[in-house]
Amino acid sequence: MTPDESPTPLIHARGLTKKFGEFTAVDAVDFDVASGESFGFLGPNGAGKTSTMRMVGCVSPVTAGTLRILGLDPNVDGPRIRGRLGVVPQQDTLDTELSVRDNLVIYARYFGMSHAEARTKADALLEFVQLAERAKDKVEPLSGGMKRRLTIARALINDPSILLLDEPTTGLDPQARHLLWDRLYRLKQQGVTLVLTTHYMDEAEQLCDRLVVMDKARIVAEGSPLQLIERYSTREVTELRFAVGVQETLDGQLEGLGERIERLPDRVLVYSNDGEAAAAAANQRGLRPETVLVRRSSLEDVFLRLTGRSLVD
């Protein structure tokens, strides 16, 4: 569903701006998120993703522009809107003095659920995030991945209309990330609207139906991962890695190998629709890279094209 087809988007932002004194963290961004959609903010650290998420989460007043969530204005109806949101913040906010289960039970109480309702829901959610065996343990000794899963369970306690996830898998090992992605994917299948920020393009490709790329407080591109790749990159990429010092001597020898050349500190990226042909052409010119890798374009390439730098820097 695109925003145009949906009469009332769950989130509607126009000219949304956040300033901290003189510093502009979010500069007049526009976006809509429809019900059931999985929407992502992709961008490097400091791009304004978290500030945007905090405004959507109704914990940070909007400086200028329009923001409507579930049809309401956060500056007026913040607590009511928050009652229908589930939030997975970048930094954990679990109560380390309480048990795993009590963390969920007390959170349910914040949404006005009865004790009985809270306990039933807490146990079902612990089952879902595979923490049922740790229910009585304290939070402190849990691994990073477990804490994240507990935070996700907590965010689901009120059957939220929108689940906001700010860098949900940053700092987790690959296994923990995949388990988390699996759970988020199940939620998406059940119709939960997901809004997430990430600086991992694989995460964005896995989870997002549609995303915006943010850079320096602005939205620089919008579309599905596939659309963005088609629009801003070629089908394939040939990565040429040269021996130390060689790359600097290649002036003029790389031009025309593909539609576009990107020089990174450690390798050269050749963008074309036929990566093998580009590699063969390089070989014909007498270039002798140490390694050659032909791959499909990814969001990383889109980002590189749009901002001139890689995502995690």
């Binding site: 009511r80 809107i81 906010t93 109560d95």
Partner: protein, 279 residues
């Protein structure tokens, strides 16, 4: 383990219930009870031991000496009876500074509990006053145990000792409010150590708990007037000894100043919590 879908119920987007701020306050307060349930044994024991030690050392030990040396120094009242209600208030004051420091620093900086609370329908009002409500509850507990120990020691001059409990709660709030408001601006315990060394300890020693403030050098006496501890100490003592009627205006002034301190503390905490949460 068989896991399929999440226990999730899709609700209509228009389902947006309103909740009263007081319900949120209740939930924030309930959170503190839940934490306390894990630690209450140690805390009750501590609340019991401290008055026993102080009443033994100061009340019985020092008191015997004072009473023998000058029986009329305190208007003929035995030192332990004179000391006990004041010590109750001073001890509760110290506890309230602790309760307004570590939970607040933790809530904003360590486990960031407050930020988690604020992501829900809870408001800064609920978060701030849930915390202060808990401080007052702890004051009630500590003061009640202290009063019980005083009765065990036979150190109560009149049943008025019971009235020292609400005075202690009010004094606790007058201290906890400003301390909580200030701690919301701090990232670590560095300032707390200074508050304790240069604020709480001198107050504890020089606010008329152990000797009348007219024994202080003249230039220090106005300080006792400005800070709320002496007002709590002197009011609790008068109630316990049954001497309120002797200086009704003074004791009314004590009550007004304590109330003013408590209100200033409540407002300051609310304003600072709101500022810190809404960024």
């Amino acid at each position: 383990m068989a896991v399929s879908g999440a226990p999730y119920r899709l609700r209509s987007a228009g389902d947006l219930p309103r909740r009263s701020p007081l319900a949120g306050l209740g939930a924030a307060y309930e959170h503190m009870w839940l934490i306390y349930r894990r630690t209450w044994r140690g805390s009750i024991f501590g609340s019991f031991v401290q008055p026993v030690l102080f009443l033994l050392a100061m009340g019985v030990g020092l008191g015997t000496y004072v009473d023998t040396a000058s029986p009329d120094a305190l208007g003929g009242v035995p030192y332990i009876q004179w000391l006990a209600p004041a010590l109750l208030v001073s001890t509760v004051m110290q506890g309230s500074v602790f309760e307004a420091t570590f939970p607040v620093l933790g809530g904003f900086n360590w486990d960031r509990r407050y930020h988690g609370m604020y992501a829900t329908p809870l408001t800064p009002f609920a978060i701030a006053f849930g915390q202060l409500g808990w401080v007052v509850t702890r004051a009630l507990m500590v003061a009640s145990i202290f009063a019980f120990v005083i009765l065990l020691f036979g150190a109560a001059a009149t049943p008025g000792i019971v009235l020292a409990i609400p005075v202690a709660m009010l004094t606790a709030l007058a201290f906890a409010g400003p301390v909580a408001a200030f701690m919301s601006t701090q990232r670590d315990t560095a300032a707390f150590n200074s508050i304790w060394r240069f604020g709480v300890t001198p107050l504890f020693l020089f606010s008329g708990t152990f000797f009348p403030i007219d024994r202080l050098p003249d230039f220090l006496q106005p300080i006792a007037w400005v800070l709320p501890l002496w007002h709590g100490v002197d009011l609790a003592r008068a109630l316990a000894l049954g001497t309120v009627g002797q200086q009704p205006l003074l004791h009314l002034a004590h009550l007004v100043i304590l109330l003013a301190g408590a209100i200033v503390g409540l407002v300051a905490t609310y304003v600072m919590f709101k500022r810190k949460l809404e960024r």
